[in-house]
């Protein structure tokens, strides 16, 4: 199988800016650049990762290990300081469920808007609209503004739109922990079905039992470095120890 994601030697430095106004910058320049205007830290250090099409990969690590940052690089939201990221086919990022949702719009408007944000064409949204609503179990509430939705309904609709974009590569960040039990199972079934159809999955989650069920490969990150890359069971046991 060909590679769906090729991450080669990327590094990312974050600048923790202490100031956000022109005034303070000017004062700092006038003082001969004394003092620390900004502090830097490495979020990712020379990370390489190849993912074959159809692989299911979990990114593991403690908070601040760089998992989400890596995911954002794969989705294109962030660009690396050095190194390259390349992906094949449509990439759908569920970096946060409902990021493109607007509270004052109806469920229907949000399906269209979010579908378009995730890269669907008008035709595709039209064709899949019924399937999206059915999967989300929203029913008659589809024309209600989403701010009246329960958090579960909101989540179901957002997740439903995302899985129906039919991406080649699916990036999921910490979203499976939410929703009630039956829907969670439905989501996991859907994700497994996507995996069986040869879609590539990259999942970030702290729910180790869950990712062990979904993913075959685990990548353990610590302070922006890849600590381990191999079978999921070993990655999980390393993280736990």
């Amino acid at each position: 199988m060909a590679n769906a994601i090729e991450v080669s030697g990327i590094s990312k430095q974050f600048v923790l800016r202490h100031t956000r106004s022109i005034k303070e910058t000017v004062v700092w320049l006038a003082k001969g650049r004394r003092g620390d205007l900004s502090k830097k830290f490495h979020a990712l250090k020379d990370v390489s990762l190849d993912v074959k099409a159809g692989e299911t990969v979990a990114l593991l690590g403690f908070n601040g290990s760089g998992k989400s940052t890596l995911l954002k690089h794969i989705s294109g939201v962030m660009l690396p300081d050095s190194g390259t990221v390349r992906t094949r086919g449509r990439v759908a990022g569920l970096i946060e469920v409902g990021a493109g949702f607007h509270h004052d719009l109806s469920g229907r408007d949000n399906v269209y808007l979010n579908g378009a944000i995730l890269g669907m064409t008008e035709q595709e949204v039209n064709d899949r609209f019924d399937a999206i609503v059915e999967f989300a179990e929203i029913g008659e509430f589809i024309d209600t503004e989403v701010r009246f939705y329960s958090s579960g309904m909101y989540l179901r609709l957002a997740f439903s739109v995302a899985v129906h974009t039919d991406p080649e590569v699916f990036l999921i960040d910490e979203i499976l922990a939410v929703g009630d039990e039956p829907f969670q199972r439905k989501c996991i079934d859907k994700i497994q079905e996507l995996a069986e159809r040869g879609k590539t999955l990259v999942v970030v989650s702290h729910d180790l039992d869950l990712v062990s069920r979904i993913c075959a490969r685990g990548v353990l990150l610590q302070h922006g470095n890849v600590l381990f890359d191999g079978p999921i069971s070993e990655a999980v046991s390393r993280l736990r120890s």
Partner: protein, 292 residues
């Protein structure tokens, strides 16, 4: 399988405004969202885009036209004839510019939550802001045209072309500055205040409320040329030519070389600002996600 036929590409590297043209569906939905959300829960709804400029027009007309004597009347023969039409044709254009730039400059920070999480051509947001302003501008133009017809306006094709040219110049300028300040606003929130200041100046730095002849009398030739090179000035004068001039008896002078010189100058400056805005935007957008 489809995934084998596609090439590996680097995500996150857009092609700027070309990508916007490819995402017309998304642009349409963003504009529709803006329009729906803007007047949500207000009784008058879209009528507010008539009421606000209407009130503004009345205030300016009474203060400037009547009290300060810009309107031509039997007691004031030096004034502008049909000052109401003169004033309104400039105000609608400057309102479009103010709204477009003001919203475009805030659009990136405003949509920060989305930009941080999902990749999409970020130029869409400033463009959508300008587009929304154009939608609000349209009903005002209708009101203007009705007022013009009542004062004896008979437009020729040349007048219509002048109006389109004037609108195009201002729209390009608003888009260019919107990209520039929208991107800068991510790094320095001061940018919003700079824009507010510019917009305040813009209303007075073009002959919206007064006549261009007053400016020429006060400024020398060089300074007047600088004044004329302002694309908004050109746009406003083109609007005067299109809507106000045909309603007068033709004795009021139009600025010299408006079509042969200033129209192309205004257009070129607007396009240059757009190019500059796009270049700056592309340079800064790589770090939007981490700065927002």
């Amino acid at each position: 399988m489809s995934s084998n036929t596609q090439e590996l590409v680097q995500p996150g590297l857009g092609r700027g405004l070309a990508d916007v043209a490819r995402s017309r569906f998304l642009l349409k939905l963003l504009v529709r969202k803006e329009l729906k959300v803007r007047y949500r829960g207000s009784v008058l709804g879209l009528l507010w885009s008539y009421v606000k400029p209407g009130v503004q027009f009345i205030v300016f007309y009474i203060a400037l036209g009547v009290f300060l004597g810009l309107e031509k009347s039997p007691r004031n023969p030096d004034g502008l004839s049909n000052y109401a039409v003169y004033l309104f044709s400039g105000i609608v254009l400057i309102n479009f510019f103010t709204e477009a730039l003001g919203n475009a400059a805030r659009s990136i920070v405003h949509n920060g939550n989305l930009i941080k999480k999902i990749y999409l051509p970020r130029e869409l947001f400033p463009i959508a802001s300008v587009w929304v302003s154009a939608v609000h501008f349209f009903p005002q133009i209708v009101v203007l045209v009705i007022a013009c017809v009542f004062t004896g306006w008979q437009p020729g094709p040349f007048e219509l072309l002048a109006a389109i040219a004037g609108f195009t110049i201002v729209a390009l300028l608003a888009t260019g500055l919107g990209l520039l300040f929208g991107a800068a606003n991510v790094y320095y929130r001061d940018s919003e205040n700079i824009v507010d200041m510019l917009l305040m100046i813009a209303t007075w730095a073009s002959p919206v409320l007064y006549a261009w002849t007053m400016v020429q009398r006060q400024l020398g030739d060089v300074a007047f040329a600088v004044y004329q090179a302002n694309p908004i000035t050109v746009g406003v004068e083109l609007f005067h030519y299109a809507f106000w001039f045909p309603t007068t008896n033709g004795s009021s002078p139009m600025p010299p070389d408006l079509f042969s010189l200033w129209l192309p100058v205004g257009l070129v400056i607007s396009v240059l600002v757009l190019v500059l805005g796009q270049i700056t935007f592309r340079r800064l957008e790589g770090r939007f996600a981490q700065e927002l």
